[in-house]
């Protein structure tokens, strides 16, 4: 099952490697989102540093939604989703393969978004902080992508899928936003954080595991033949 999933992911990544359409649009949008938030939250001549952690996760969430929509639109356009479903590959491999692709896209975009936040909100960083931030982003992105892939795949044949994806995804990933933003807060401003980073990392880890299991369990039932 894992081999099939990796093969499907490889297909997506190869396609994207040639056209770079999703990465460029997602990345640019993520950067613009951070910039917009930096303009929106100003006090005096600089953005308020305390909203940096929230802004990071809002930018990740919004560009993630774009990427999810575009990735599955591509499958729909070529009707390759039908080919995938007809192939002898188990459905859960399709889910995992698409999820791996989405996670990879989001990581690449975060390589743009995170430095943008650090730059525009003037956050001082050290090597250790960057390492913790990387771990937090990995866990948060995994949770977001696992749920997002399931919901985007189930909406693939729906009419209003773009707006419906946002409508159904955002309530479910609220724990990722809370834990991600609070965890980032603990890294950026440890002196005023409510709880330590370890707690939030554990919340994200638990969320990832539970959502992976749930998604694997119901993916088959949700995909229309």
């Amino acid at each position: 099952m894992i081999k099939d999933a990796l093969r499907i992911a490889e297909k997506d990544l190869k396609l994207e490697g040639r056209s770079k359409e999703i990465l460029l649009t997602m990345g640019f949008f993520g950067f613009l989102a951070v910039l917009t938030l930096a303009f929106a939250f100003r006090r005096g001549d600089a953005p308020v540093a305390s909203v940096a952690s929230g802004s990071l996760w809002v930018a990740i969430a919004f560009s993630g939604t774009l990427g999810l929509g575009r990735a599955f639109e591509r499958e729909r356009e070529n009707d390759s989703i039908r080919a995938l479903l007809l192939s002898p590959v188990p459905r859960t491999s399709i889910y995992l393969g698409k999820a791996i692709g989405i996670v990879t896209f989001m990581f690449v975009v975060e390589l743009v978004v995170v430095p943008a936040v650090l730059l525009f909100f003037t956050i001082p960083m050290g090597v250790e902080k960057i390492a913790w931030l990387t771990l937090l982003c990995v866990l948060g992105t995994l949770g977001y992508a696992l749920v997002g892939t399931l919901l985007a795949a189930s909406l693939i044949r729906s009419g209003a899928r773009d707006v419906l994806l946002a409508v159904v995804l955002y309530p479910i990933i609220i724990p990722v936003i809370i834990a991600g933003a609070m965890g980032t807060n603990a890294i950026f401003e440890p002196q005023i954080a409510h709880a330590d980073l370890g707690t939030w990392l554990r919340v994200l880890g638990a969320f990832d595991v539970v959502m992976l299991v749930t998604s694997l369990w119901i993916f088959e039932a949700l995909i229309l033949d």
């Binding site: 729906s158 209003a160 419906l164 309530p171 609220i174 409510h194 939030w200």
Partner: protein, 236 residues
């Protein structure tokens, strides 16, 4: 399709047991109101405003019950694809939104008087808000998602139940030591008023659920008749 859907006994096809149950529920509401306002003592700290408690708490419990019903319907539908499970899931979702609206309306009203602000990010209110939002999303999906709408809505209901645990826990950690839990030991008369209220709301829920399920069955029967009429060439 059962032809019996339209043949229920009673003057307008309304089940007599349900009619009796509704009547009893109406009387129970009067009794609950009496207990809440005239029998239960006024609370020492919060005064008269505390009486929202007798509506807010049962509404919240019925909200969680309804989400559970929606989840059961969803699991049943995803396992068997039976229409009656989907109807149960739909009914549960709608009633969760109704009682959720009651909770989210009465909660801030109480909060304004008790804590000074309409919204103070209380753990339970916040996680209830996310839960109700997910139920609303499920309802929106049923309306606009086309072919696979029922499956997606069912999946969402299951996610809602699992997610509510994470949201509750996350907000709890985030809020740290803010203690909005105001209920200590209850006076016996207050307990009586509360449990009567809970029982009344449960009765009301059963009535509403039964009515909604009946409505769902009738809608399915009408759809079936439409299809048969079209096939027989009776429609334009």
């Amino acid at each position: 399709m059962t032809p019996g859907a339209f043949d229920e006994k009673g003057p307008l096809g309304f089940p007599p047991v349900l009619a009796v149950l509704c009547a009893i529920t109406g009387l129970m509401f009067c009794y609950s109101l009496h207990l809440a306002f005239y029998v239960a003592p006024v609370e020492a700290q919060m005064g008269f405003v505390q009486k929202i408690f007798y509506f807010h708490v049962p509404s919240a419990w019925v909200l969680f019950l309804s989400v559970g019903v929606a989840a059961v319907g969803s699991v049943g539908f995803l396992s068997t694809r039976g229409a009656k499970w989907d109807r149960l899931g739909n009914a549960g979702t709608e009633l969760a939104i109704v009682f959720g609206a009651l909770v989210l309306f009465s909660g801030p009203l109480w909060g304004r008087k008790a804590w000074g602000a309409y919204w103070v990010w209380d753990v339970r209110l916040t996680s209830s808000l996310v839960l109700v939002l997910t139920m609303v999303a499920s309802k929106i999906v049923r309306g606009y998602a086309g072919g696979s709408a029922k499956q997606i809505a069912a999946g969402l209901a299951i996610f809602a139940v699992i997610n509510s645990v994470f949201v509750y826990y996350s907000v709890d950690i985030w809020r740290g030591t803010h203690p909005p839990k105001v209920m200590g030991d209850l006076d016996p008369l207050m307990k009586k008023a509360l449990w009567t209220s809970v029982f009344t709301f449960l009765l009301a829920y059963v009535c509403l659920l039964w009515m909604r399920l009946r409505l769902g069955r009738l809608e399915a029967a009408v759809d079936h008749l439409h299809m048969q009429a079209t096939e027989a060439g009776l429609h334009d």
